[in-house]
Symmetry: C2
Subunit: 205 residues, 2 copies
DNA sequence: ACCTGAACACCGTTCAAGT
DNA sequence: ACCTGAACACCGTTCAAGT
């Protein structure tokens, strides 16, 4: 049994995903991943230039899954406003359900020389594009106060929505959300999504 | 020269802060910190139970600095609305000016068993308290649509404001903010803060 | 109490070698 | 092309020992 599988690259990513889910951390060792995949500790170097490259591939998987979850949530929504809330809720749920994976997607682990690798930047741009579509839809049907012809205005709306949901997800993961009242997590999510919508809503909506 | 300084604990934290600023990363080694402080590689264990404890102490320093920067920004502001915008801007500026420190304050590096250590939780609670005060002030003078007697409502407003600013800071650090238009960073900050304020503002403001 | 030096079980990465 | 085993320069942490 010389070659364990036709696709060790794929097997390594899967092993890393398993470790992510099991340990709830992304600081596992490359050697541990290799062990899981049943190969020697440096077989990964035949498929990835270094550990960072493997992590980046795993990170891209995260963006794909997140996109899948949010797109699915938006389907069947009548209005743009409903779709945006559904996306926000699905986004937060994904983060809280995949803590380590979500952290990896955005953390310093993927950054090289202070910059995210290109595949991650592309995935993030796609995520912004998804949000942009919804917001433009809402701008055209009058539910959002966004000028569809003003690129800055759109970018501001997109980034404010993403920032709020992203920030909340991370604070919730870190356990740094409000504990003042015995507020249930779901209720708090409702409340912050309400504020997000209010920030985008047009006055006559 | 047996004891290098009366306060090695302090010296180690300073050395770590130096490394943070120089390398722009928080994944330096404990041994490197010891080297910087001019002591053997395990002298730190006389002052910290493990590496995590040193990082936590450095993280707390970050919260203190961040608090100092935001409190200073709020001083001299006439209205609660102005104060909140000033705080938001100072917050983002701090994050972008102390990338590694900011990432450390919230990242997995400090988490043990999926939970942030108590000193960090306390610092975060203090940060929420600061926001809460401003928001309550704005609620009483009528500039924010927050019910001062409804704890949930307050918590929702606090978390939505913090989430937005926190999320934006991290996305900007990661370089994942909009690049569609040739939007300047400062302009984008203005736009997202505007959306934040709109999410909090009362209709008659 | 505070620090040192040796030691242990790990890393990521490289290299020569095997098929 | 794909994988192995030995090797290198590191880690975090522990332990016995020194003042």
């Amino acid at each position: 049994m010389t070659y364990h599988h036709g696709d060790l690259r794929h097997a390594l990513i899967d092993a890393a995903l398993d470790l992510l889910a099991e340990t709830q951390r992304w600081d596992f060792s490359l050697r541990e991943v290799a062990r899981r995949a049943g190969v020697s500790h440096n077989a990964p170097y035949a498929h990835f230039p270094d550990k960072n490259a493997l992590l980046a591939a795993v990170g891209v998987r995260g963006y794909e899954r997140l996109r899948g979850a949010t797109v699915a949530a938006a389907e069947g929504c009548q209005t743009a406003a409903q779709a945006l809330v559904a996306i926000g809720r699905a986004y937060i749920t994904f983060g809280l359900g995949n803590v380590a994976h979500y952290r990896l997607m955005f953390g310093q682990a993927l950054a090289v020389d202070g910059q995210m690798p290109e595949p991650i930047r592309a995935a993030a741009a796609a995520a912004r594009g998804l949000l942009r579509e919804i917001i433009l839809r809402g701008a055209r049907d009058g539910s959002f106060s966004v000028d569809p012809d003003n690129g800055d205005d759109i970018a501001g709306a997109v980034m404010s929505a993403w920032s709020l949901v992203h920030g909340f997800t991370l604070l919730a993961i870190d356990g740094l959300t409000s504990r003042e009242t015995e507020l249930e997590a779901d209720r708090l999510i409702d409340l912050i999504l309400l504020r997000m919508m209010k920030g985008l809503a047009s006055k006559d909506a």
